[in-house]
């Protein structure tokens, strides 16, 4: 939830990415909790997958950060609104 809030308020791309991580983390927590409830490993396995995904996500995301920074010299996501309407 906080991740979402962060996503909505922060304009810095890095913060945005961080917020996403928080959200993913929360989902992972939920999965692990659910797995624990049924005493199954599935939840943890799922968390691992989420982890992998988060890693991939972050790598691409950070690549975007670099690209974007190169272009805009700032990381304001609101500046990325050339397209609208």
């Amino acid at each position: 939830m906080l991740g979402l809030a962060g996503l909505l308020t922060r304009r810095n791309l890095i913060f945005t990415l961080m917020s996403i991580e928080i959200m993913l983390n929360a989902s992972g927590l939920a999965f692990v909790g659910a797995g624990a409830r049924w005493a199954q490993p599935d939840g943890q396995v799922m968390f691992l997958f989420i982890l992998a995904m988060a890693a991939a996500e972050v790598s691409v995301g950070l690549a975007f950060v670099l690209l974007f920074h190169k272009r805009q010299l700032a990381l304001d996501v609101d500046a990325a609104s050339e397209m609208r309407g």
């Binding site: 996503l7 909505l8 945005t16 996501v77 609101d78 990325a80 609208r84 309407g85």
Partner: protein, 624 residues
């Protein structure tokens, strides 16, 4: 011989078609031959047919020529078929003969007009339509002729189309008569629905069998047909178009707006007299309309300055007489007056045409003293005028009008009021007729005569003069030892009138008073409009009102024309389109509103995502 009947229609139609298609490429001579000749041939054939008909009457005094079934649908099978009986024969004779004379006259009269061929095409078409109207054996075919003559009338009034005035007059004539036509059409619907046929004889027969006298259905049917007749014959309240119709060439006025077409209403009522007998209230209404129209039109004629308008109002007035006769049940009297009126009114118009042609002026107050130079026209006017005003014993008009006047008293529906009104009308007729003659032909000559009439004009005028004089002798009052030949001839179709009121007003007295009234009118006219009087048109209010035809035009303009134009103008942009365009606006509005959501900001989009999630969760909560 009778089988040739269809040619009477076909020949003018063919000629009209030829003239319409190739008229512009033909020489004037050929046009004249085609135009007048076709009607001449038609007249000849009519004469032949008439002779055969009289010599060896077909069975039941009726001859029917079936050509083909027009259409056949659900028991509705009107035919293209011609029905010849004494009434239609009489009509046919008058139409073709007077028509021919007028065509003959036009050959010369219209000679210098650029629309020569067009004129004859219209005229021929008119003759054909009129004959169709007369000969139709069913009401639908009659309606075809009815509309056909209306069309030709429209075309001919607007013949000189360059003048907007003429065009307006044409439109007015067409629209006003169309009012009546609509009523007529509804009448046809009613008749067919209730009687199952539009064949005139069958329908009349069935009506007489099925409907009781005075029943509402008969009344409605008669009223609707009357509507048609009133419009076509320029009776109250739809009389306003006829004076304006004088915008057409004078032969047109003579043929259509005096001799033939305008009497179609009279013919219609005579043809369907059974219906009117079944609806006494409507029949009485016919008489009232006739009387009132006759008087009002006569007053209007008294105040007109335009020679042709005088004649137009006179026509309205004279048809009022015929309606009076019809309303009283004096069917054959109406037909008789129709015939004589055709002669003398055609004569008057043609003569007026000569005058107008000669001086290029229609205003009576600008003419004067023309009797020396336009001798033939003058005499034609005198003879025609006398017939119109009813100069006793030697003119045709006297006999026919006398018959009506007498029957307005003596007939079963007659009474003193109608008689008195008729007498007043006769006085007025005499007055305005001689006013016209005095103003035009006496007094100081103001205008130079530019043209003399040729042979064709002379011939037709002379023939019509003689017909106006002797036409009355076909039906002379039996009370004075005459033989009502025409009435007898028509009796097989139109039942004769019983003479029930033999009271204080005898026929002798009628004749005498009619003669007196004629003389009185002549005298008054001489007093007021004689050569020694000042020639200033009177300016008082009453005369203004008369001049404007009692203000009917003004009333209709305010009551109907303007509101309609207003509606048409206001709605021209199609009000129904407004909500539809509104709908389009709403969608565009939706587009604009939704477009605002596409801010291009990723945070906003994420918010949208969250919002959406929240929303569907909320829905799930609520719906649980």
């Amino acid at each position: 011989m009778l089988q040739l009947l269809w040619l009477v229609v076909a020949i003018p139609v063919a000629s009209a078609t030829l003239l319409a298609l190739f008229g512009s490429n033909l020489s004037r001579r050929v046009v004249a031959v085609l135009g007048a000749g076709s009607v001449g041939v038609a007249a000849l054939i009519t004469l032949l047919i008439g002779a055969v008909f009289l010599a060896s009457p077909p069975m039941g005094n009726v001859y029917v020529q079936h050509l083909w079934t027009w259409m056949s649908s659900g028991g509705f099978t009107p035919e293209i078929a011609f029905y010849l009986d004494p009434v239609s024969l009489l009509m046919l004779l008058v139409v073709t003969f007077v028509g021919f004379l007028i065509h003959l006259y036009s050959v010369e009269y219209m000679h210098d007009d650029e629309g020569y061929a067009r004129f004859f095409a219209y005229m021929n078409l008119f003759v054909a339509s009129m004959i169709t109207l007369v000969l139709a054996n069913n009401l639908l075919l009659l309606y075809l002729g009815w509309e056909g003559v209306g069309l030709c009338s429209f075309l001919l009034i607007g013949f000189w189309y360059r003048d907007p005035q003429n065009v307006r007059a044409a439109a007015k004539a067409f629209i006003v008569t169309r009012f009546g036509d609509t009523a007529f059409a509804v009448g046809l619907l009613l008749l067919f629905t209730r009687l199952g046929t539009l064949d005139i004889q069958d329908a009349m027969h069935r009506a007489a069998m099925q409907w009781s006298t005075g029943s509402s259905i008969a009344t409605a049917a008669a009223a609707l047909l009357l509507g048609g007749a009133v419009a076509k014959s320029a009776q109250l309240p739809l009389q306003t178009w006829l004076p304006d119709a004088m915008a057409g060439p004078t032969p047109t006025s003579a043929l259509i707006h005096a001799a033939t077409m305008v009497t179609a209403g009279v013919y219609l009522i005579a043809r369907t007299h059974v219906l009117f007998t079944l609806a006494p209230s409507i029949q009485f209404l016919v008489a009232i309309i006739g009387t009132v129209t006759m008087l009002l039109a006569a007053f209007s004629a008294l105040a007109q300055r335009d020679m042709k308008r005088v004649l137009a109002y006179s026509t309205i007035s004279q048809i009022g007489y015929m309606f009076l006769a019809l309303g009283l049940g004096a069917w054959s009297a109406a037909m008789f007056h129709f015939m004589t009126h055709a002669f003398f009114k055609a004569l008057l118009f043609l003569a007026a045409g000569v005058v107008i042609h000669a001086v290029h002026e229609q205003d009576l107050y600008r003419m004067g003293g023309l009797r020396k130079e336009l001798r033939l026209a003058f005499w034609a006017f005198v003879i025609g005028g006398s017939a119109l005003a009813g100069l006793p014993l030697i003119t045709a008009g006297f006999f026919s009008k006398d018959l009506i006047l007498w029957q307005s008293w003596a007939g079963p529906n007659g009474n003193a009021w109608f008689w008195a009104a008729g007498m007043t009308g006769a006085l007025l007729t005499s007055l305005y007729t001689f006013r016209m003659i005095l103003l035009a032909f006496y007094g100081p000559q103001q205008l130079h005569v530019r043209a003399k009439s040729g042979l064709a004009v002379r011939v037709s005028l002379v023939v019509l003069c003689s017909l106006s004089l002797v036409g009355g002798y076909v039906d002379t009052p039996p009370h004075f030892g005459g033989t009502p030949a025409l009435s007898n001839f028509l009796n097989s179709v139109l039942p004769p009138l019983e003479e029930v009121h033999i009271g204080p007003i005898t026929e002798t007295m009628t004749v005498l008073s009619a003669s007196t009234v004629f003389a009185l009118g002549l005298w008054l006219a001489y007093l007021i409009f004689g050569p020694k009087r000042s020639r200033q048109p009177a300016q008082n209010l009453l005369e203004q009102l008369w001049l404007a035809g009692w203000g009917f035009d003004w009333l209709y303009d305010k009551l109907l024309v303007r509101p309609f134009q207003w509606i048409a103008r206001k709605s021209a942009a199609d009000p129904v389109d407004v909500p539809i365009n509104g709908l389009a606006q709403v969608t565009v509005l939706g587009y604009r509103a939704l477009r605002l959501t596409q801010t291009g900001q990723v945070r906003w989009y994420a918010a949208g995502l969250a919002l959406g999630t929240a929303a569907i969760l909320a829905i799930a909560f609520v719906a649980r």
